[in-house]
Symmetry: C2
Subunit: 328 residues, 2 copies
DNA sequence: CTGAAAGCGCTTACAG
DNA sequence: CTGAAAGCGCTTACAG
């Protein structure tokens, strides 16, 4: 390659790296030769010499025993956004799905495989979060979904989302509004949504109602059971704010099974903006985080470890009014 | 590291690599030292020396202009399976989502970043497939979704799936069965499903009916429009086999809008097994490929380029009877 | 502005 | 069974 362009190896390297200390003429000559020989820089060698890898590792935490193919679609969308955000900065992403204790691994930096680690996924896999928490001290990390306050985290603006959803229900004329969620759970995200709900109810002078989800069940079953419990209580309700879409989908189904029409008899709003909500009847109204921003924030957080104080951690959310909340 | 264990660098390398030409005693000593120093082999250097990377590149092709976060969930599941299958063989995966012509890139091998390339994603992005087709000559590749017969491909057993779905409809007592799909399209996968449909109808001595999808619309709208067209034709029908789930979901919605009850008045079966079908009313019956096998086959295909003849290319499918086809 | 040389951290013939 | 040495393909001080 060097001899084809009639220059030294160093010059080739500099020309290809776009160094300014190079004549335009020689650069062009090198570029032409590279094209002709279909030459590409070997990143292994470049990285070895440079020290950095130009790569981020992304770990997706699954529920124990869950296959990669049936992960909550929310995390798939998030994964896509992270990869896209990295790609925009010419950073590669190496991704892995991890669920079992034996396979937890995040030390990509130690092996020279990545410059940082992004961990996203279900809050429920505690063993996993504990494992990755330990890495956050001496590794560049960013987390989404961690149950621990102390980790570097990025989250939806859950509080604001809770308010948006609840206000929308109130605006729809609902007065007996129930929150299906986990009011005292370690799921920080859930807790924040709950607090937003409380604030909006308080603001409107309405009394908040709750159904606690049953941790033993899967999300869909949690939603069904919550509605079932609610109806059995014979307590009137005309609006539901479900803490996440998968639960909302279960709730919606149970409402229909029990002949409660949505939205005419009960308005329903979820949280997450998963695509499945587009295909229900009625389509599920929901709070959706800005995925592009989410991906960008995660990437930025890992890369700019220095000024920790300035890291923006709240991903803005918006109401997706798809039809499960009554219109006035 | 070497001096800590009191041996040479070569010995450390051999011990860590599990070479048999090493005393158990020295190996243990090295391992102990490694643990103590929290030492990990730098893969950049190892790869540079060894030549191979232990990594596969996975490119997910999106529709032009589509964001990574709203890709057909089928491909997300497939992506998960590929990563899981690679992981099982201790292979890393670097993944990227590509949609626009300017960003097409698959020469990871040339840059020493991967040993092979797996491309999956929407058939509809022709520019993308043409780009990657060109790479298949001198790169280790495997494709899912390519419109080209000549590429190394892995696909669902679409023909068998078409038969399974159609037979199920026939068993449900349907006689006027309509296939919503693309009978003469370049979408090989769709064409194969269509042929399965034809075969099963022929086997039962029934006359097949069709509605062609409108290429200009998105999947959901295609399904709606197909049902709408069908009803306008006033041609009686009691069963629908939709060529993919996203189309089936649109069809299901339109059927409900037009007050055709599923499954009592019309049975409906889709193809792909996407999770959104779990949340519709009724849940969507579908043909699901074995995702684990799909991931494993793709990985194996890239790695074992040598005996091309023996590559298994058909991923088995099964009927997921979720409720949109009448039970007898 | 360009070249000759050193060195990134490994693995692997080559000796012994 | 183990060590000394070469070399993987780059980048980057160091000279000029």
């Amino acid at each position: 390659m060097a001899e084809r362009a009639g220059v030294s190896q160093s010059t080739v390297s500099r020309a290809l790296a776009g160094s300014t200390a190079i004549t335009v003429a020689t650069r062009d000559r090198v570029l032409a030769a590279a094209k002709e020989l279909d030459y590409m820089v070997d990143t292994r060698a470049a990285r070895l010499r440079k020290g950095s890898t130009g790569t981020l590792a992304v770990v997706v935490i699954c529920r124990p025993g869950e296959m990669a193919s049936d992960i909550n679609p929310f995390y798939f969308s998030l994964l896509g956004s992270v990869c896209a955000a990295a790609s925009k900065q010419d950073i590669e992403t190496i991704v892995s799905f991890q669920s079992k204790e034996e396979e937890f691994f995040g030390r990509y930096e130690d092996r020279g495989q990545a410059d940082g680690l992004i961990v996203i996924g279900t809050t429920s896999n505690h063993a996993a979060w504990e494992h990755f928490r330990a890495l956050s001290d001496d590794h560049a990390t960013a987390f989404w979904g961690s149950p621990y306050e102390d980790l570097d985290w990025i989250r939806s603006d859950n509080y604001e989302g809770g308010i948006l959803a609840t206000r929308r229900l109130i605006d729809a004329g609902c007065r007996d509004i129930v929150h299906i969620g986990a009011t005292g759970s370690p799921q920080l995200q859930f807790h924040e949504r709950y607090e937003g709900f409380l604030a909006a109810m308080d603001e409107a002078g309405l009394e908040p109602h709750f159904v606690e989800i049953d941790g033993a069940l899967d999300r869909d079953a949690q939603g069904r059971k919550a509605v079932s419990d609610l109806l059995d209580r014979k307590q009137p309700f005309d609006g539901i704010f479900a803490v996440c879409d998968s639960i909302a989908l279960g709730a919606l189904n149970e409402l229909r099974n029990r002949n409660v029409d949505v939205p005419s008899q009960c308005s329903l709003i979820g949280f997450d903006g998963i695509m499945a909500g587009n295909h229900t009847r009625p389509p599920l109204s929901t709070i959706e985080p800005d995925f592009d921003v989410a991906g960008a924030m995660l990437v930025q957080t890992v890369l700019e470890k220095q000024d920790e104080a300035n890291i923006k951690r709240r991903v803005p959310v918006r109401l997706l009014d798809r039809g499960s909340a009554r219109s006035l």
